[in-house]
């Protein structure tokens, strides 16, 4: 490599030595500045910024040590190598040179070859330092740039993510502000029926790659939840979407919940997340919500398993979900925090509202420092009346509202297995402006009528199974099994909208191919009974008008009225 000419400052009080050294250095192709003492040297450095200094130690006015200190201070982060010119031999004096910031020595008498080699070596060091500084600044710039990008991406994402109901009074959560870039994702939204869907997800990887999947996932979650789709349909769509857009080695572990305040139950799907826990406050028992599925985005749509589990809940019971950041926390010896330690924190917990803080503290004690990639969420079951879902926002003007029509559907076995017609039916009905104010009740009633027709009618499931918690689980296992095997049967839905006194009336009739039930006995029960079984009928009677059953329970009929709109 051709040596780039340098500007070299020679500080030497002996005129002959200065002259000699200048000649040697010039002959080696460098520019020379000279100074006869330390003060002159500092001044010359200040004005002309030479790249390297040859400095005599003993000089009048200001000695070389002080001059070296001042020059190093002026140079700041830039490496300006200082080679002390000295015939010093005592190690103490040499040490002083180093302390003052000297980088090397050159003994008198001068040897041209050695001097050239030292200048070359120092120049290499100087350039290395310059490169390191340049790269450091570059990295710092890139880092700033990246942080800014993340800030913007996060701001955009927050608009999407927080369009949900994470601020609902029954949700507590803890997430790092940059959880998105750890791949963590927390979403919550009300369904039209007033149920709550919650998703805690964890994408593989870190940084932007971990964040890119979050946006489409959130869109599917919010879009489908708002339209009244259940967990299964939403899961299938999320899985298919992620499978389509993510590379093979990327996926999203996720737990999806549907909390039903009216039915007092929680439906759970866990793909690849650590166990969540359903905390029964009365008994203190914690039921693990274990991963039964592969993460989202791994399986193709044909093999994806959308089966969920349903658990009963009482008011005040809580569902706790957490990301793998908790149990995968390592201590200095690469030991995992693990599930047992988490359960010890559970066991020691006295104040349920302090649980997050206690887990964080335990992680910090275990690891020696806090973690910023832990996500936790806790959702409690409230009385349905304590939660008021936000009103739905409609974008149309209402000028084209349909007011006098009827429609009939028949959903047969192959369709019942995989298709949920409720979102479609609800959207159709909400074209009628007068019905929008009661969309929650409408959806709940429609959903109950449909699931009664399907589960008790077509599938012949016994609702009394749901009397206790274990029966509850068995009930939903049977439901899945019978649906899988279903060959025949139908559910018919008849909708009729008619204008009435400036307002209107909706009549819904749902019929099924099942065996029917003892209408008189069911109708004789008190309407407000809080039981796990038979809540459907009671709910329908509370939320709609003129509910009646005919054809030995195979045909249900309800009405909804609305007044003239202002």
């Amino acid at each position: 490599m051709q040596l780039e000419p340098l500007t070299i400052l020679i500080a030497e009080d002996s005129a002959a030595d200065r002259m000699l050294l200048s000649s040697i250095v010039r002959r080696q192709g460098h520019e020379v500045l000279t100074a006869a003492n330390g003060a002159e040297a500092v001044e010359a450095f200040r004005q002309q910024r030479p790249q390297l200094v040859l400095m005599d130690a003993m000089m009048p006015v200001m000695d070389g040590f002080e001059a070296a200190r001042q020059i190093k201070a002026l140079a700041g982060e830039t490496l300006v190598p200082i080679i002390f010119l000295t015939s010093l031999t005592e190690s103490e004096a040499l040490a002083r040179c180093l302390e003052a910031g000297g980088d090397d020595f050159l003994a008198k008498p001068y040897n041209q070859v050695i001097l050239a080699a030292k200048i070359k070596a120092m120049d290499r060091l100087r350039r290395l330092q310059a490169t390191v500084l340049k790269q450091r600044d570059q990295i710092a710039r890139h880092h700033d740039y990246l942080l800014n990008e993340q800030r913007v991406a996060k701001a955009v994402f927050d608009k999407v993510a927080h369009s949900g109901c994470l601020n609902a009074p029954n949700i507590r959560y803890l997430q790092s502000p940059y959880a998105l870039f750890n791949g963590d994702l927390l979403l919550a939204a009300f369904t039209p029926a007033g149920d709550m869907h919650v998703l805690l997800g964890d994408f593989t990887g870190h940084g932007l790659p971990a964040a890119v999947g979050a946006m489409p996932l959130a869109e599917v979650f919010y879009g489908m939840t708002a339209k009244g789709y259940g967990l299964s349909e939403t899961l299938r769509e999320m899985n298919a979407k992620l499978k389509r857009i993510l590379p093979v080695d990327m996926f999203c572990c996720a737990t999806l919940l549907c909390l039903s305040f009216q039915r007092r139950s929680v439906e759970v799907w866990n793909g690849g997340m650590p166990d969540g826990y359903l905390h029964n406050i009365a008994s203190g028992e914690r039921t693990p919500l274990t991963a039964r599925h592969l993460p989202l985005g791994v399986l193709n749509p044909q093999t994806f398993d959308d089966r969920t589990e349903v658990f009963p809940m009482a008011v005040g019971d809580r569902v706790f979900l957490l990301s793998d950041g908790v149990i995968d926390t390592c201590d200095a010896k690469e030991q995992l925090f693990g599930v047992e330690r988490l359960q010890q924190v559970f066991a020691a917990n006295r104040q349920p509202d302090q649980l997050f803080e206690e887990i964080e503290q335990a992680l910090q004690d275990f690891r020696g420092e806090a973690r910023d990639d832990v996500s936790m969420v806790e959702v409690s079951l409230l009385e349905a009346a304590q939660l008021i879902p936000p009103p739905l926002v409609y974008s149309d003007s209402g000028q084209s509202c349909p007011l006098d029509w009827s429609v009939n559907f028949e959903f047969r076995a192959a369709t019942l297995k995989r298709f949920n017609p409720l979102p479609y039916l609800l959207q159709l009905l909400l074209e009628v402006h007068g019905l929008r104010a009661q969309s929650g009740a409408l959806y709940s009633v429609l959903a109950e009528l449909y699931s009664n027709a399907l589960e008790h009618g077509v599938l012949g499931l016994d609702s009394s199974l749901k009397r206790d918690a274990s029966g509850f689980t068995r009930y939903y296992q049977q439901r899945n099994a019978r649906l899988d095997e279903l060959q025949d049967g139908y559910v018919r839905v008849h909708l009729q909208v008619a204008p009435k006194d400036g307002g209107g009336c909706l009549t819904i009739r749902v019929e099924d191919s099942g065996k029917g039930f003892d209408v008189e006995r069911v109708m004789a029960r008190p309407v407000d009974g809080i039981r796990l079984s038979g809540r459907g009928v009671s709910l329908i009677r509370q939320l709609s008008r003129n509910a009646s059953w005919s054809d030995e329970g195979r045909s249900a009929r309800v009405e909804f009225f609305w007044e003239a709109l202002a």
Binding site: S14, L20, S23, D56, T86, K108, P109
Partner: protein, 123 residues
């Protein structure tokens, strides 16, 4: 005889490095040396004496004044130990003597090189 005072190899190396400025270097050295000699005489304390001797030693070694460099080195050592006042006086005297010997040698060398370069210029 000259070999104990001057290192001729150093001088020829200096001439090669300095080229036309060689005579000027020799003149500068002599002028510089006189200054340092008078400093040695006027030094009021051991520290100043040692520092002056140290610097002088450096120039001498660069200029091939081997014996003068050695005497300066001894003086520096003496000054550092501070208790050989007699030794110091003796060494300063020897340095004076040595400079008196080498001064004409450097003068001669300067004249020779001036004549050489003048001769070169005539061709």
């Amino acid at each position: 005889m000259a070999d104990t005072h001057l290192d001729r190899d150093v001088l020829s190396a200096l001439q090669e490095v300095m080229e036309d400025e060689y005579p000027m270097l020799l003149g500068t050295f002599l002028a510089d040396s006189e200054e340092r000699l008078s400093k040695l005489h006027s030094a009021g304390d051991a520290e100043t004496l040692g520092a002056t001797a140290h610097s002088f030693k450096g120039s001498c070694s660069n200029m091939g004044a081997v014996r003068l460099a050695k005497l300066c080195h001894d003086l520096e050592q003496c000054a550092m130990q501070k208790n050989f006042l007699e030794g110091i006086e003796k060494l300063v005297g020897e340095i004076d003597g040595e400079f008196a010997i080498i001064r004409p040698l450097y003068e001669a060398e300067r004249q020779r090189s001036l004549a050489d370069s003048a001769a070169v210029r005539r061709f």
